[in-house]
Symmetry: D2
Subunit: 337 residues, 4 copies
């Protein structure tokens, strides 16, 4: 860590900061510049209460040198994390596609979609039983009944299932049904929920928050891993920017940045990012070519009757056609699908 | 609501949309433009599953005319909501100041700060017992022990207390101690938590999410009010933008926008927005002059030893001096303090 | 256009708005809702001084139905615009790659890079003679000497050249050397410069502004086209967001959005978007797979000695290797390269 | 400057960076941490071609310690810059208000507004003769005829005049009429234009770009000052964020940040920031209380007939009433008006 002293810092203030750092177990290396002094502090930043330093008189700011995450970092673990969900491998050479409707609405409709996405090549079935909705007046999901429908669909199709949990009180319940537990974008910094899913033995699909930096996203993964669950799958789903032509702005550069800084696999959710089914094909191909390990796509047998996110759902036939196109792109970048 | 049909929409598609709207209980008024057709739909949008319409063939987009929030809206209730917390009135003519440390660290330190902020004129004492921290390695709060310390400080000083809840499982506990329950920025769209605090009888201080639009913020208030608790106090604490000179960008225009669209009171938290104590004075005065109903400010007897957010905490003496300056501004805009 | 009247608008105010719209040549269609009234106005919005309406008493806001751009729109011209630069075709089935250093520093170095990017398959040579730099103390370009070096490189290699103009006074000069004139991100709304290049007969590479919406970007294209020059090539180069892991956030979804709304070709500049050469390969593949018509990439024979943007420049050998990988992706999405 | 070496940097790479820094005239101080090495480099960063270092093998990133601006910095000049425009003082204790219509439309209308804003207490008259408009189909200003009308209004009222220049070719012309030359937000990084106005002897009102950081804004000021013109007045007019309730988000914290880092005066333009006249009063008071040195406000005698930005223009009577309220706030923070 580097402590930058202000231009007007006195020698005494500099000495005090050095003394405080020593007390905290750091070795210090002051560098006296022509205008400002900076102090290099060697030691484990994670042990440091940085606030104690940054509010000392004469301190301008602190510059961290080490990343704040450790367990999620590529520095700690250089081989990619591969997550096994039954016979499905996430983070390996194969591109994995998760598909299904936004919300589970009825058993019949869900099974129909499930069989179709399986036929098209999806390996994981998605569906929401607990829905976090912007409006209290919107459909909030079938809750446990929805989980039961998912379980039947798994039985019937052999697909693994992924579904979201939104409340610490439901983690045990959701974990008892799901093969993968999803943490949605709005809960990415619901730290208690992260700790709870970190205590299950189910892989966690961790969506990026709408205004989360990549570093904060990896810190959220760190919460889960440090609670005991190393099986975190990251999912880029767009960030909030000034552009309104799409619902959110998919940050495609997060893919190589994550690959550079972390060992965790990363998927992309083009449906929620774009908010419009017509852009899902192009963005999915882009995500695969950029290096994503998989996709999570909304598919609905009858988008016009969907109780949630209809405009961004693909019909099963369109999805099946796109899956063939995705495969060609996967092969072009040396991946299987 | 207005349905905009795409340029290439056929007459049949237009008819189908009109038919569907009728089925949903809307009266329809098509307007055939030179290039595009739009359909006006009269009725209660909140009853409508808009997805059913927006994914119909030929539909380009929907334009809502009514606000999505109702109970939080100025249209429903034109007189400002005034919230009584013991003998403290929030949302009236008086500017209310809440002050105290970020986290409760020890009874002695907390009481010291409590007495000093009271002396300076604060009416409500803030302090965190449950802290949502970006890093799992940071201090997470004293939990119930912290609540007990707050209760003692209330007893000792007569100040009312406000503290944050971060888990649905703790709502009952926190409500049993706090006078005002705080929902932090990261939990603004933790809808289950909103519903839980909506079932208590304690006023709720609802901070704006870092990437929440004002409309989404009012929808979060709507969750609380529609769960049975009308006593919501909004709190602007900065939004996330590209600017890094301050931790977040305080959106001062949210004050008049909220006043225009809602009857709820609005406070400003300049400490978290700026992330630096030296900007707290200027921004507080700005908030009062812009029309805020109060402030929530971090004050710590010894910022350099704080376990959390030291750099943004004012020392009690500085706070006391600023309170006098705030009073002059309050008077200049016709408020008392 | 739809005029939304406020809830408290009187009948007289509604009548006045209708009357004013009639005077402006619109046909009006009021729809009286249960709470609010909206007025549909049929006619050419571009003829309307919308300010006249939006500040009339009782008007809440205006909702445009038609896009504000016309000449740049897909609605006007449904076949894609194909731009011929000598024997290079931009906007057709072939992916076109422009490459070269950020700034021209010396003839020798520039020629060396030029031959190498040609050998690797680039069709257009990029290089900056006039550099818009954030700091007045940074290298500002060789100006006309730089243009002369570019012309020699064109002569020597047969590559076409693209270079930026930053001042209306230089448009004639730059146009006399360049095959394609570049408008940089910072000048995307330098409307006088747009009009000037709109009066040349050279194709224009129009970079997206850092905070420009896609609609504003197409309006900038509209300035050029309406000045007489239909040969506009759009170039996505990242937008400014809160994320700092990359210099800017590449908005990959702008590619399908542009294809949906405009007939103009679109390239991607991964070098400026990412600000780091190590991400250029992944983002380039992503751009091709998402549907971009080409790329513009920084290549420098010796990045460590570059006077500008060294960290984002690829070495020629790395560029040559990536070009082969790009080709595989192009083929996978049915494009040639 | 601090050079952070990557974890995998070899001793040889570290030595090479030190050697290169020495060649560039820096004294180096390596600090060997437990995991990473950082190198402190003492010397004038402005002399350094940082690219040469940041792309060297083993370098992870550079951390600047000194601000990139010098002439605009508080470090260089600790007393505030006071700018004299005839008998009007900007940057002193008095709050200065500039007011007038967005665009000059006719002499009669302009004079009418001019007399009214003078009567209300404005000291400077604003008006646009050259208008940068998003659409090529919008009114672009009366050009030199507009300047002549402004000059007459100055003669008639005694007010000083401020008006925008948008093209390097017009700087001499505009400077011959205006008392203060305005650089609009869209031209904040039109560096040639900055250099041109830097060569006049007229004060420059430099608006902040929509996506400009405060540092970039001060760098733009640095362009003007380093060209020979020290009389720069900064103007905050809102930045682009995700929030759409106001046209832009006024960044009120830029006021104390500028005061902390620069000696230049700063005004606020609430009209363009909010885009709605009804928020101008609240934001103006907020700006004064936060520490702004003045305001620039749109006033139009008949907003409903304005050719530009009518919705954000105040009527003269409303402006006159607000001016009294502003004065009370100014006095409360120890300023005159």
């Amino acid at each position: 860590m580097i402590i930058v002293m202000s231009q007007s810092a006195t020698r005494e203030q500099i000495d005090n900061v050095e003394k405080k750092l020593s007390e905290l177990g750091f070795k210090t290396h002051p560098i006296f510049g022509e205008v400002k002094t900076v102090i290099g502090a060697i030691g484990d930043k994670r042990l440091l209460n940085t606030h104690a330093i940054s509010s000392m008189p004469g301190v301008e700011n602190l510059v961290p040198i080490m990343k704040p995450y450790k367990l999620a970092s590529r520095e700690l673990k250089q081989v990619p994390t591969i997550i096994q969900v039954g016979d499905v491998t996430i983070g390996g050479n194969e591109i994995v596609v998760m598909a299904g409707p936004c919300a589970i609405e009825s058993e019949e409709l869900f099974l129909e979609t499930a069989f179709k996405v399986k036929e098209a090549g999806a390996k994981i079935l998605r569906g929401g039983a607990f829905k976090p909705r912007t409006s209290p007046y919107s459909f909030q999901g079938l809750e446990e009944d929805g989980l039961k429908i998912m379980a039947s669909a798994r039985e019937a199709t052999g697909l693994k299932i992924v579904t979201e949990v939104v409340d610490t009180r439901d983690v045990e319940l959701v974990a008892s049904y799901a093969d993968i537990i999803q943490i949605g974008a709005r809960n990415m910094q619901n730290f208690r929920l992260l700790q709870e899913v970190g205590q299950t033995n189910k892989p966690v699909l961790l969506k990026r928050g709408l205004s989360a930096t990549i570093e904060e996203w990896l810190m959220a993964a760190e919460y889960i891993i440090s609670s005991g669950n190393p099986n975190v799958i990251l999912c880029e789903r767009g960030i909030r920017t000034f552009e309104t032509a799409t619902r959110n702005t998919i940050d495609m550069s997060s893919i190589p940045v994550i690959k550079d800084n972390s060992h965790l696999p990363i998927l992309v959710d083009p449906s929620h990012a774009a908010g419009a089914w017509k852009y899902v094909g192009a963005l999915s191909k882009g995500a695969i070519a950029t290096g994503a390990d998989g996709l999570i796509i909304e598919v609905h047998s009858n988008p016009a009757s969907a109780l949630c996110d209809g405009p961004q759902s693909l019909r099963p036939e369109k999805f099946a056609q796109l899956m063939k196109e995705f495969q060609a792109v996967a092969l072009a970048v040396g991946r299987t699908m």
